[in-house]
């Protein structure tokens, strides 16, 4: 198996897991913030417990993130090849945009927001940031070494 293929096979799941975990944590915090805004007192221990419990949504979030990136990352690769520029930035942008786009499409189709923490614009943007960080991680882990790095190796 080629080294680049191995890198992709490791990097993609790692990035998906990072984004899904961050997206879950972001959603929980926004849901809790909405309750706090109602005047509800929530202890730190209750917040932490809910964060861990909500990781159960990874069952659906992991495939959802993977699915949108199967579209987003090839687009990022093509844009980088065509336009040039920073590869990490392209993949970070694609990772965030694909996740936000997927949530918006689901909202348009279902008529409701699939992730409660993404109902507000800041909540949606946080999901985008989670996607961007995953995209960045993927780009870093799959970067092609420059010639001088090869010589060093």
């Amino acid at each position: 198996m080629r080294t680049s293929t191995k890198k992709h096979l490791v990097a993609f799941p790692a990035a998906v897991i990072l984004t899904a975990v961050l997206a879950s944590l972001c959603s929980t915090q926004f849901v809790l913030a909405e309750l706090t805004a109602l005047g509800i007192e929530i202890s730190v221990s209750a917040r932490i417990a809910m964060c861990f419990e909500d990781l159960g949504i990874l069952r659906s979030l992991l495939p959802a993130v993977a699915a949108c990136w199967l579209v987003g990352f090839p687009v990022a690769h093509a844009l980088e090849a065509r336009i040039g520029g920073n590869r990490n930035a392209w993949f970070a942008a694609a990772g965030g945009a694909a996740l936000v786009g997927e949530l918006l499409i689901m909202q348009a189709v279902l008529g409701v927001t699939a992730i409660a923490g993404a109902r507000s614009l800041p909540g949606l943007l946080c999901q985008g940031v989670a996607g961007a960080l995953g995209g960045y991680l993927f780009a870093r882990m799959t970067r092609v070494p420059r010639p001088e790095e090869d010589l060093d190796a």
Partner: protein
């Protein structure tokens, strides 16, 4: 000899309580939602698609009632409840609830109208929930009259607006109480609160799908859909907070928690909750003559469970539940007690039916 007599008595009791018979009164209804019994023996049935139909002499009339207002149809929205005025025999007035507006901007609305047997006239808008919301989920829409002549209406919280259920400045996720002319009763619990909408009777609801007033003691019973789990049966008291979305036994559809709390100070716990969800729809407090053993029990139609739940009440206390008619395998939208003592059930599909449930054998 005594044993033989006892056996005979048990046999007679068994025959008297034989499995009820299910008859189809009408079919071909498009998502029937609610049913009302007219004094002349006919029935009015709403179809969520926006038509009001008449069943007369056991037959569904081909023509829908004319003059029904324009209804926003889609998702969970459409023509919802139909209720007769308590003095219908004198004033021929009915009340309709429905979703109104556009997909991007809509609300639950109630109108009154005079029904002459074939059409509606003198249409009056009595109430429109505020603020308008986006999306076609959670309209509530069930109505019931209180003994004082005021009208109760349930409203949903619009799904994506769940925190609005806790806001007294919003009609979303509330029980509303108005006079039959649309004015606000002066004794509503928040009438004098400048920060609250005066029509609000109770709050903290998700998507209530039934409300009724017990003729025995005037208590108000309501049920509402939870998300994934946490469907609730509540006893509604003026001014009380029923907790959504701060307290719930359900989870979000994603699997995430709605809140860390199942109870919270100042918020009413349900009489019971269904977890996992059964998706309760209509409800009746049975007081008919055909099933004496069921008198005083609650019957709840269930969409997801595809059944009718009998809730055994003993002096207002729940002592048991029974799942009935699940063998039919149909989503049940409404259940009512007919004037003849039979149970009437609406099934929820594009080919919806009106079922009449009677004892299998004549009562001794």
């Amino acid at each position: 000899m005594r044993s033989l007599a006892l056996l005979l008595i048990l046999l007679l009791v068994h025959v008297a309580q034989a499995a009820p018979r299910v008859e189809t009164i009408a079919d071909g209804l498009e998502f029937p939602w609610s049913i009302a019994f007219l004094p002349d023996g006919a029935m009015l049935v709403t179809e969520r698609s926006g038509r009001l139909r008449i069943v007369r002499d056991g037959k569904l009339l081909p023509d829908a009632v004319a003059g029904v207002p324009e209804v926003l149809v889609g998702g969970q929205g459409g023509l919802l409840d139909v209720v007769l005025d308590p003095a219908f025999a004198e004033n021929q007035t009915i009340y309709l609830s429905f979703s109104f507006g556009t997909t991007a901007r809509n609300a639950t609305r109630v109108v009154s109208a005079r029904f002459d047997g074939t059409s509606l006239s003198d249409l009056r808008v009595l109430f429109t929930a505020s603020p308008f919301k986006k999306g076609m989920g959670h309209f509530g829409g069930r109505m019931a009259f209180l003994p004082d002549g005021t009208l109760l209406l349930t409203t949903g919280e619009g799904f994506d607006y769940r925190e609005s259920a806790q806001s007294l400045g919003s009609h979303l996720g509330k029980t509303i109480r108005i006079n039959p002319d649309g004015s606000v009763p002066l004794d509503n619990p928040f009438f004098s609160d400048d920060r609250a909408l005066p029509e609000i009777f109770s709050y903290g609801h998700r998507n209530p799908q039934a409300i009724l007033v017990s003729p025995a003691d005037g208590s108000i019973l309501q049920h509402e859909h939870g998300p994934r789990g946490g469907d609730e049966l509540n006893r509604i008291v003026a001014g009380r907070n029923y907790g959504w979305p701060v307290v719930t036994y359900g989870r979000d559809y994603s699997g995430a928690r709605i809140s860390p709390f199942e109870t919270y100070p100042g918020m009413e716990p349900p009489l019971l909750h269904w977890t996992p969800s059964i998706a309760p729809a209509g409800m009746t407090l049975y007081d008919g003559a055909l099933f004496p053993e069921w008198r005083g029990d609650l019957f709840v139609a269930a969409l997801a469970e595809r059944s009718i739940r009998r809730i055994d009440l003993d002096n207002g206390t729940i002592v048991g539940q029974e799942v009935l008619f699940d063998d039919l395998g149909e989503r049940m939208r409404d259940v009512r007690t007919g004037p003849d003592g039979a149970l009437y059930v609406l099934t929820d599909s594009t080919d919806g039916r009106i079922l009449r449930i009677v004892p299998e054998t004549p009562r001794p």
